[in-house]
């Protein structure tokens, strides 16, 4: 029997995906039923890890914070990236340059973005507070203020994310036939009507893509929490992913960490499915 040549081309990539992307999911599921004793022995715990997760009020609060962060940051990034894409969509002098600049934060790592904004927004040393002080608004705590820390995280991820999502919005805008706009113009449609009845309905797919992709990233928001707040102040930025990290590497309770990872995988998948269902075409 001849083997289909396709499988030779696929084999290396699928070996990589299976070992490093799919197999770890199995490791997470299996490991979530185990725990480690004080002397390092692995013991079967059944559903204990899951029961302790769902009975842990602090952890449920973490889920709440992570969810709230997503409910603010993702729609905000979608609206802003669509607006910015509309600003650089039509050609014009220097528009290419502006597009590059807006896209620039994509190259900056989340760690660098976090370090830079942590220093810029420092309550005592940060130049942003110097400006706010000088214009009479007064100094803010930002990441050091319990009420502002989560909002500052939203600002950070939005600052870095909008340029990237803009690219997918631009891809969608380019795919809309120019003739539709011209027809709408001839019918006397205003700028807003053209946006509302031509652009928006045809942008359903890129918006759905950005929604799903940004949710997948922001449900597991980690690096800035590790670098800036370590979950503080007073638990205000206690994201789930930071707890997963702590459980595995600070408290050496790998079983519990894997149970949380498994729950988050299911949650991300479920949220993605719900989002795709909500964004489905009406026709």
């Amino acid at each position: 029997m001849r083997i289909n040549p396709a499988y030779y081309f696929l084999a290396p990539a699928f070996m990589g995906l299976s070992v490093f992307k799919i197999f770890p999911i199995g490791v997470a599921i299996v490991g979530s039923f185990y725990g480690t004793t004080l002397i390092g022995e692995s013991v079967f715990r059944g559903l204990d890890n899951y029961l302790s997760i769902f009975g842990d009020l602090d952890l449920l609060r973490s889920f709440g914070i992570t969810l709230l962060f997503n409910l603010i940051a993702n729609p905000l990034q979608i609206v802003l990236s669509l607006m910015v894409a509309l600003l650089v969509f039509r050609p014009g002098p220097l528009i290419g340059l502006f597009r590059s600049v807006l896209f620039l934060p994509v190259t900056l790592s989340l760690v660098l973005t976090a370090l830079i904004w942590n220093l810029l927004l420092d309550p005592y040393l940060g130049p942003v507070n110097a400006v706010l002080d000088a214009v009479g608004i007064g100094r803010q705590g930002f990441f050091k203020d319990e009420a502002q820390a989560l909002g500052s995280m939203v600002w950070l991820t939005t600052w870095r994310g909008v340029g990237y999502w803009m690219l997918f919005m631009l891809a969608g805008l380019y795919a809309i036939p120019e003739s539709l706009y011209e027809a709408a113009k001839i019918d006397g449609a205003s700028w807003w009507q053209r946006f509302r009845h031509v652009t928006l309905p045809l942008m359903r797919r890129p918006i759905a893509f950005v929604l799903v992709a940004s949710t997948a990233i922001n449900m597991l928001f980690f690096a800035p929490v590790y670098v800036i707040t370590a979950g503080g102040p007073n638990g205000a930025t206690d994201f789930v992913m930071f707890r997963i990290y702590q459980a595995a590497f600070n408290y050496i309770d790998v079983g519990r960490s894997l149970a949380m990872s498994t729950v988050m995988l299911v949650v991300v998948l479920a949220v993605a499915i719900v989002e795709l269902w909500l964004m489905r075409s009406e026709d």
Partner: protein, 280 residues
Amino acid sequence: MRSRTSAALLPVARYTLLIVLAMIILAPIVWVAISSVRPPEEIFLYSPKLSWRTFIPETFTWENYRLLWESDFPRAVTNTLFVAFATVALGILICSAAGFAFAVFDFPFKNTLFVVVIITFIMPFEAIVVPLYVMVRDLNWNDTYFALVMPEVASGFIIFLFRQFFTKVSKELFEAARVDGASWWRIYWDVAMPLSWPTVVAAALMMFIHQWDAFFWPLVAATSPDLTMVQVAIARYLQFEQADFGRLFAAMTVASFLAILPFMALQRYYIRTIVDSGIK
């Protein structure tokens, strides 16, 4: 009359908004670069109270860069460049081959396998960091370049981009080569790959920046000082050497610009590849 005024105002509003947005993006990066050429004690000296000195250095110095050069940072840069180039070389090869297979051949389970590719590209890497770490540790792969490179080589997104590109190449081109007696390997290597160079450039850029910016995985998988990657090194500067702001700013500038420069040179391929990929 009214519509003519608003038509004249529209470009003004457009460019005003763009200038404001560009400043919000550029100001932090410029601030870091400027601060990196100030003496360490001057960096935050003038920033609590607003004056021209908050943004313009009084004294210009390369001292921070000299100290950075003598630290363990060059080692981190070399490590990261090695890991990034290895990932790019292997990743382009195996992802383009898989993309070629999805675009050109019909085979059983094609759709199922493609769904697997899509799932791995939607699934956030953070979600599997801990189980991947457990696996790598149990196989004694932790603290090796292998552990830093291999998990990033097969990428669902890059496979997807190559598949989208090869799907658009005319099938007749491949069939003509087939009639001439070329093997599929020849067709892939001599016909398909040379055509796909813009996708190769974009994918290489994405993989390079991805590894250059990697943090969470190197943080847990490679704790040995010999294997420190750039982002982890910088995060440590802040945590352990709070006072050494000069070196921190120099390191942040180097880390930013080594990602920004290749990106600036090659970004049009990046943009074109995503725009053409049909994620819309």
